[in-house]
């Protein structure tokens, strides 16, 4: 087990290096360099920058040098913990991202837990009570859940809450807590707001996982060992929970590998609609405003989250399934 984890950990820096190249190519993709566009923007708003300052900026980012030099300068600064300054917000990028990154992780992990907590009971009941009302209801619900884009769910719920209940359900905090430092009251406030984004984000995944579990469980329920256990007089529910469910969950566990990273990046759209203080809306704003170093840092954080998500699920998978840790160790 330990060998397996260490192996995975050793792969991390390599993967992050490749990702940093991709992120760098992405931020270089728009035509023109960002200092030029920044100067143009300043000129448009009436202020200006003197020649020396412009040259200093160009020198700092190595803008007159070839691409790989710029990349290494960027990478070195990143490794030293200096993410640079957002030209749009005039603030250090680490300050802008820090708090939002934490909320992104909290939202992602809670959605993940929610999905499994809901999908497993639904899948189990659908399979054991096949063709019952409950089963049909959730089959329909699952199809619709997969077909509805998350932002549509968010929009519809937002509209319903506004027109029927007269409340706005955007944001993660009440206004009075938005810029406060962390406290117990603020955490409680977060809990009051975060459940809705969790439900919206988790719907699609819940639908998919419940469907997989139902199909797997249906295969297991007809196996001879079930008859055997029944013949021995084992109570039905204990039997189901003890054997077939455990077997049927295994394929779900292997979906962990793609699911957690997917939630992290999928939260971007919902966060934009619901105006959540996560890194998603910030990425959108920086991309539209061509604030490329901020965009690069956020894209890299998404990659980082994806890598960590994959690592977490790999470890979980190895812990749950002995075949994997034996094979790869």
């Amino acid at each position: 087990m330990l060998v397996y984890i260490v192996k995975r950990l050793l792969l991390l820096p390599l993967l992050l290096l490749v990702f940093s190249v991709i992120a760098f190519i992405l931020i270089q993709a728009p035509p023109g360099d960002f200092v030029t566009s920044y100067v143009a923007e300043l000129a448009a708003s009436g202020s200006s920058m003197d020649r020396l300052q412009i040259d200093a900026l160009r020198e700092l980012y190595g803008l007159d040098r070839p691409g790989y030099v710029q990349y290494f300068k960027w990478l070195t600064r990143m490794l030293q913990g200096d993410l640079g300054v957002s030209l749009d917000f005039q603030k250090p990028i680490s300050e802008l991202i820090g708090q939002r990154l934490l909320l992104t992780v909290i939202l992602g992990l809670s959605t993940f837990l929610f999905t499994f907590a809901v999908a497993i009971p639904i899948g189990t009941i659908s399979a054991t009570r096949q063709y019952s009302f409950f089963d049909y209801f959730f089959t329909v619900f699952n199809y619709v859940g997969v077909a509805t884009p998350t932002f549509m769910t968010a929009l519809i719920l937002m509209w319903l809450a506004f027109s029927k209940l007269g409340i706005t359900i955007t944001g993660l905090f009440s206004p009075e807590f938005a810029d406060e430092p962390w406290s117990f009251a603020r955490t409680v406030d977060l809990g009051k707001h975060i459940w809705l984004p969790i439900v919206i984000l988790g719907m699609d995944g819940t639908a998919r996982l419940a469907r997989i579990l139902r199909a797997n469980l249906l295969d297991e329920l007809n196996k001879p060992y079930m008859e055997m256990a029944r013949a021995k007089g084992m109570p039905e529910w204990r039997l189901i929970m003890k054997y077939p469910v455990r077997l049927a969950i295994n394929p779900l566990v292997s979906s962990l590998g793609w699911y957690l990273p997917l939630i992290f990046s999928g939260s971007l759209i919902v966060a934009t609609v619901l105006n959540l203080p996560t890194i998603g809306p910030l990425l959108l704003r920086s991309l539209i405003g061509q604030d490329m170093f901020l965009a690069g840092a956020i894209v890299l954080s998404y990659f980082g989250l994806a890598v960590i998500g994959t690592l977490l699920s790999d470890i979980l998978l190895a812990w749950l399934d002995p075949r994997i840790r034996m094979e790869e160790a």
């Binding site: 993967l15 490749v18 990702f19 991709i22 992405l26 931020i27 993709a29 728009p30 035509p31 199809y143 619709v144 997969v146 077909a147 509805t148 884009p149 932002f151 549509m152 929009l155 519809i156 937002m158 509209w159 506004f162 027109s163 706005t168 955007t170 793609w258 990273p261 997917l262 992290f264 990046s265 999928g266 971007l268 759209i269 934009t272 609609v273 990425l283 959108l284 991309l287 539209i288 061509q290 965009a295 956020i298 894209v299 998404y302 990659f303 989250l305 994806a306 890598v307 994959t310």
Partner: protein, 382 residues
Amino acid sequence: MSVELQPEAEISAVAKPDSLDKADAVSVASNWKLVWWRFRKHRLAMVSGVVLILIATIAAFPGFFSTQAPHESDSKGSFMPPQGIHFWDDGPAFFVNATKGARNPRTLRMEWVLDEGETIPLRLFGRGYEWKALGLFPTRLHLVAVANPDTDKPIHLLGTDRLGRDQWSRLVHGTQVSLSIGLLAVFLSTVIGIALGGISGYFGGLADMVIQRVVELLQSIPPIPIWLALSAALPRSWSVTTTYLAITGILALITWTSLAREVRGRFLALREEDFVVAAKLSGCSQMRIVFRHMVPTMNSHIIAAVTLAIPVMIINETFLSFLGLGLRPPAISWGVLLQEAQNLQSVALAPWLLLPGLAVIITVLALNILGDGLRDAADPYH
């Protein structure tokens, strides 16, 4: 084998073609026929197929189904409510109620309500604005039009948006763009997926190694931020068509990987099959072996996988355009239409702006069910 040896069988088969019983029919049916028989049993998938044919017809001739030119705006007629068609009014009828507007004295905004007293008669296959069928043949024919085009007020079956544009006509035109972008992107990613997956599985060795590492890398990258960054890099000055093609390319760039994996797996298995070895021994070229002998054996699987990939593409295009990074006005797609519904004020004022979302849901639902049906039908072990 000569016919004379079995005259009786020959005659009976000709005289009574129905006498082939079910087992015989199954044993002589082609693979496609078997898939079709299995697919036909899946009622819901058949219904979805019909729904999709309808949607595809709308996408092919949006002008015929619309009631007003999609870009025509009316600054005085913004946020008009949908005018539902009435089919009954003390006897069969075909009309909509007119709308009447009044300025709200407090907000000074025009507020429109349906006027139950005034009706606008409609007719099927009436005359309306001029459009070009398939971009070639000018015509004025529309499925639904006002009975007296010269005197009647314009109708808005699904209401109007912020700029007073007819929502129904725009939805119909958006269908064409959204569906075609989904199809085109899936086509591209299928071509890349089959080509690279095929090379990987057929040749193995170094090519396989490189392609598999690329696939793994692409699969470990979260696609949404990449899509956003790439689409944001598209120059704003590009024309609608160029942006359309670029977005299609961006969508296809990342999604080919899963199909490539599947194709590779099947190629690896097929490579050792007798019929492939036989083809090789009889001197077929490698291209012929791949495209003539190996690809056809997985046709049905590829079709099922492709059908299930289209809805994913449609959703992706929708959210890119919705966020303002995909297609941009004056292009019309479902995502562009939903952009109008992005803020709470518009939605609270005009909930019908959410209707394009319903189009997305219905189409994606139908494609998913159809894809599931095809997949089950294509799998002989199911």
